[in-house]
Structures are given as structure tokens and as C-alpha cells.
């Protein structure tokens, strides 16, 4: 591994964090804008049930504001996981197998909470 390789992997991790949070913020702004245009009521204290993936997908097709907001929230919540995946690939690229294994471990722990959230 040389310094240039290391810079490339760090740049990738940095880009993922930046782009992921920017996309999530853009989706949130869009969701709130759709809500405002449609004049939907804002009820912040009502308890919500998490959306299933199929309901989320169908609601997105209808341009539902809450579904767009949920997508933005999920994009933000999944950005760190994506960063871990990029780290695994970067460490493998650098042939740093020890830290590729460490990053894979972190990814598996995250999957342990992510997967049950959708089923």
C-alpha cells in the first residue's frame, strides 16, 4: 500500500459521508416542500408505526410527502453503513486484510439492526 492508495480510500470515505448527507437533506427539503404545497396537516406528537418497504415504495410512487421524508431519514441512517462498505472495499484494495475484517465486523453488527427494521 502506498500513500496515494491511502489518500484515494480516505477520499472515497469522505465523499460518501458528504454526498449521503447532502442527498438525505435534499430529500427532506423536498418532502417538506410537497407537504407545504399539498397543505397536509403537521401532527408531531402522534405515535407512528414504521413503514414496511412495500408501503414505502407504493407511497413514493404516489408522491406522498411522508414517504419522501421517510426515504430521506433512511438515506441519512444508511449513510454510515455505506461508509463502512466503502471502507471494507478500500482496505481490501490496500491489501490490509486485518482492517478489512474489522470493518466487515462493524458492517455485520449494523446489518444485525438494519435488516430486522424492514421485516
Amino acid at each position: 500500500m502506498n500513500a496515494k492508495d491511502k489518500d484515494v480510500s480516505l477520499n472515497w470515505i469522505s465523499h460518501i459521508l458528504f454526498v449521503g448527507s447532502l442527498c438525505a437533506a435534499a430529500l427532506l427539503a423536498l418532502g417538506l416542500l410537497v407537504m407545504w404545497i399539498k397543505g397536509e396537516p403537521f401532527e408531531p406528537v402522534v405515535h407512528v408505526v414504521r413503514p414496511s418497504l412495500s408501503v414505502l415504495f407504493l407511497s413514493l410512487l404516489k408522491g406522498d410527502a411522508v414517504a419522501i421524508l421517510n426515504l430521506g431519514i433512511l438515506a441519512m441512517m444508511l449513510t454510515p453503513f455505506l461508509r463502512v462498505v466503502v471502507a471494507v472495499v478500500s482496505f481490501l484494495w490496500e491489501r490490509d486484510y486485518r482492517y478489512a475484517a474489522v470493518a466487515s465486523g462493524v458492517g455485520l453488527i449494523l446489518l444485525f439492526t438494519i435488516v430486522p427494521s424492514f421485516f
Binding site: L10, A25, G39, L69, M76, P80, F81, V106, I109, T113
Partner: protein
């Protein structure tokens, strides 16, 4: 609809002061949601965790690019923080919300105390421009233990946990302070994400509250990081020590079911 605008603005304020004061936002978001908007404590924690991801991602991106974060050390400690966060999130689901309020009040008081001690020291630290890169560390098992506890607090109370991780890395593991700060920030996103999914799966991340607050926090934190070099934080920190102490008392009383007359 006016409540939506207020929540976005509240998020902007929390994000702005959080990034300027190095608080990460969680300690300001939860009192705002519970005391001002009447959001139940567990839902406030769920929303706060998502907001914490938003504030840490922007800063972490910059620190990683500059090479300030020790990515390898961060990844290793994340093995402990993520497990801690999941355990914290699960335990929060079993506890009475009033217990969470009282625990959060204690955390706020500790944050205020810690900030009052560091107000002068951080002023000196801001003026030094020595760049210490990633490198060696000691006492990894102790660091892992502290990281598990930091993750636990993060998942239980919806904060980043930097207030535990930074001293642990700096004092126990002999990591340079700047690297400890940047590495802690790098770890916060993954840790908060592990906890956030526990709340999400329980349906405790309200899309409207999370969406509006997180957008505000993102905007506030972005503006705060640009403003940071131009403002003196010592006086601001002293004011916020009092603000946090007051919020701590108010949250304690709310947890105990007592209404304050002011």
C-alpha cells in the same frame, strides 16, 4: 404548519450552537423536543440519533479528508460502540420514559460541568494550530470498554457520546487530543446509526419531527462550521454552561413529575 417551521428553526439553532460549541447537537435537540414541543422522550431520542448522524457526517467528511481522523482506530472502537448502542437502544425500550428523563438530566449536568472546566482550556486549544496525525495508541482493551459504555449512552439517551470517547482516547489510550476529537466524530455516525435503527424498528422515528428537525440541524451545523473560525467561543461556552444546567434541572423535574413555576 407553523409548528413545522418552528421545528426546522429549532433544529437550525441546535445545529448551529452544537457545532460551534462542539456539543454534537443531541444535548440541545432532546430538551427542545421534549420541553418545547412535548414529544415523548423515547421518540425524541430516536429523532436525536438521526440528527446526530446528520451533524457528524458533515464534520467527519472534512476530518477524514484532512487526515485528522485515525480511521483504523475508529473502525476498531466502532466494534464496541455499535454493540453498546444496540444494547442501549433495547434497554431504553424497556425503561420507563421518566427514568430516561432523569438519566438525561444527569448527562446534561455532567456536560455543563465538563464544559465549565474546559472553557479556558479550549480557548487555548483553538489558538494552537499543531497538526498531529493518526498513529500509535495504548490500552486498547480499556478503550474498547469505554467505547462500549459511550455507545451505550448514545443508544440510551440519543447523544453522540463524544464526551466519553474523547477523554477515554486522550487519557487512557494516549491518542493526541486533535486526533481523538476527529476520530470520535468519525465514529459517531456509525454508532448513532446502530442505535437509530433500534428506535426505527419500534416506530419511534417520527417522519415529520425527524424530517423537519434534521433538515434544520443539517443547515445549522453547516453554517456553524463556517462561522466557527470567526467567533470567540469562550463567552458562549460560559453562557451555555448556565443554559445546560437550567435545562438539566427542568428535565429532572419533568422526569420527577414536578412542574417548575418559571
Amino acid at each position: 404548519m407553523s409548528e413545522l417551521v418552528l421545528m426546522v428553526l429549532g433544529g437550525v439553532v441546535a445545529g448551529l450552537f452544537g457545532s460551534v460549541l462542539g456539543l454534537g447537537g443531541g444535548v440541545l435537540i432532546i430538551p427542545m423536543l421534549t420541553l418545547v414541543f412535548g414529544v415523548p422522550m423515547r421518540e425524541a431520542v430516536g429523532v436525536s440519533l438521526v440528527c446526530v448522524i446528520a451533524t457528524s457526517s458533515g464534520a467527519a467528511s472534512l476530518y477524514v479528508k484532512k487526515g485528522l481522523s485515525d480511521v483504523r482506530l475508529g473502525m476498531t472502537l466502532e466494534l464496541a460502540t455499535t454493540v453498546g448502542a444496540i444494547v442501549g437502544g433495547v434497554v431504553a425500550g424497556l425503561l420507563n420514559q421518566r427514568v430516561l428523563l432523569v438519566l438525561f438530566a444527569a448527562l446534561l449536568m455532567y456536560t455543563a460541568w465538563s464544559m465549565s472546566r474546559k472553557a479556558e482550556a479550549s480557548a487555548d486549544q483553538n489558538n494552537t494550530d499543531h497538526e498531529q496525525g493518526a498513529g500509535a495508541y495504548t490500552h486498547l482493551p480499556l478503550g474498547m470498554g469505554a467505547s462500549f459504555f459511550a455507545g451505550n449512552v448514545s443508544g440510551l439517551l440519543g447523544v453522540g457520546g463524544g464526551i466519553i470517547k474523547v477523554p477515554a482516547m486522550y487519557l487512557l489510550m494516549r491518542v493526541p487530543l486533535k486526533t481523538a476529537l476527529a476520530t470520535s466524530n468519525f465514529m459517531i455516525g456509525v454508532t448513532a446509526s446502530a442505535g437509530a435503527f433500534v428506535y426505527f424498528s419500534r416506530g419511534e422515528v417520527h417522519p415529520l419531527v425527524a424530517g423537519s428537525t434534521m433538515l434544520g440541524v443539517f443547515l445549522g451545523a453547516t453554517a456553524g462550521s463556517r462561522l466557527l473560525p470567526t467567533i470567540k467561543t469562550v463567552l458562549l461556552k460560559r453562557i451555555f454552561v448556565l443554559v445546560l444546567a437550567y435545562l438539566s434541572i427542568e428535565m429532572l423535574f419533568k422526569g420527577l413529575g414536578i412542574r417548575l413555576p418559571f
